[in-house]
């Protein structure tokens, strides 16, 4: 049951973000892609990443060599939530990922964080997808 909730949220978010990015020709949305950030010695596989069109050169051979503009992680179980809102958030802030979203299908909520002065601040709206409205459990 938990797995299906996460998978539903994943497919839904991926579809919505991809559609929005295509409509606005703003960039590329990729699922579960290896992101390698050399200067921070970090290699992660976020659930979804977005790279702005102008920076699409960092996407090479199905990998991202550099900092994506948005990382989305989806909670797979309640204990996973603490990691995404703790250690993972710190990692992405240290890597200077401009936006970080945590989608939580169990709480039917999504948190958006925008990097301000090297730290994440929770935000109502995304800077990258300002008009996007996503309902996590309408599948």
């Amino acid at each position: 049951m938990d797995v299906s909730l996460k998978d539903l949220a994943f497919v839904h978010l991926l579809t919505e973000l991809t559609h929005y990015a295509r409509e606005n020709q703003s960039g590329t949305v990729l699922p579960r892609t290896l992101v390698y950030i050399e200067k921070r010695e970090v290699a992660v596989i976020p659930d979804i990443v977005f790279v702005k069109r102008a920076r699409s050169g960092i996407i090479q051979k199905n990998r991202i060599f550099g900092v994506p503009d948005l990382v989305v992680e989806i909670v797979s179980n309640p204990s996973h939530r603490d990691k995404l809102l703790g250690k993972k958030k710190d990692t992405y802030a240290r890597c200077e990922v401009p936006e970080y979203w945590v989608a939580d299908p169990f709480e039917k909520a999504g948190r958006k964080y925008v990097l301000v002065g090297g730290a994440y601040q929770e935000a109502e709206k995304s800077r990258l997808f300002p008009d996007l409205q996503v309902q996590l459990l309408d599948s």
Binding site: R40, E41, V42, A43, V44, I45, S76, K83, K87, T91
Partner: protein
């Protein structure tokens, strides 16, 4: 539920497998450290050693590591 490694290889019960997959199935690293919690690390290591068995573990360890392991075990049981 977690594996208790024995000398010989064991099958992994499906429940152990489900409970031992670390970090939502993602192998990620930061500054040379896997992004697993201590508990995730313990479970996955026990599962892997349980699968191959202690004999195989000792077989694949480099000579230097075997000496270290022997020293540590002697200290543990002194």
């Amino acid at each position: 539920m977690e594996m208790i490694p024995k000398a010989e290889p064991q099958k992994i019960p499906i429940q152990v497998f489900e409970e031992s997959i670390p970090n939502d199935g993602k192998w990620e690293i930061e500054e040379g450290r896997l992004l697993f919690s201590d508990n995730e690390m313990r479970k996955v290591i026990l599962m892997l050693i349980g699968q191959i068995g202690l004999k195989k573990l000792i077989e694949i360890l480099p000579h230097e590591s075997k000496n270290e392991l022997e020293r540590l075990l002697k200290a543990e049981y002194r």
